[in-house]
Symmetry: C2
Subunit: 107 residues, 2 copies
């Protein structure tokens, strides 16, 4: 049954927020907006779709290959056929926090 | 043959430095001192020894279970029998950088 990703906050100390996301086949991380710059560290390989206001794109992640994104990103993630686990590290205290929302659609 | 861990810097942008460490059985991360607070994200499970000025301690890491440590930590890591991969994220721009070295021994 496709459902919501399981999100577990592992560190949240005002400087960083570290959340582990575990997705089964077809699970989603519902529409959300990133208030802070963040780093994703895939724990497993992953194939998924990212849905933005401009459309859908198929993406791949490789275990141990982190990638960094900026504040303001707004999207939904829909997992593919394989379970996928990643760690998201948000840089809460760094200067880079998003300005006003760019897209009214809220999760 | 026991050797040095393979270290690959993946992000180094003045705000954070992200390095992937890959260790074979018995490989080491030679004696070093952490200048910045850091977060370790294990990609695989790991069993290893940490050697400090006060002695050795056996430790375990679990894939997807990050742990945070402070600047100033000074140690060597000696891997156990299984290959171990982890990602280290150093918070370079945050206020928490270490003061003078506490232990003269250099790697």
């Amino acid at each position: 049954m496709n459902g919501e990703a399981r999100a577990t906050v592992q560190v949240d100390d005002g400087g960083i927020r570290v959340t582990r996301y575990e997705l089964g086949p077809g699970d989603r991380v519902a529409w959300h907006r990133h208030e802070h710059d963040y780093l994703v560290v895939p724990i497993t390989d992953g194939t998924f779709e990212v849905v933005t206001a401009d459309g859908r794109s198929a993406q791949r992640a490789t275990a141990g290959e982190p990638y960094r994104r900026g504040a303001g990103a707004e999207h939904e993630l829909v997992n593919g056929e394989q379970p996928y686990t990643f760690i998201e590290i948000e840089f809460v205290s760094s200067a880079s926090t998003a300005s006003a929302p760019t897209h009214p659609r809220s999760s």
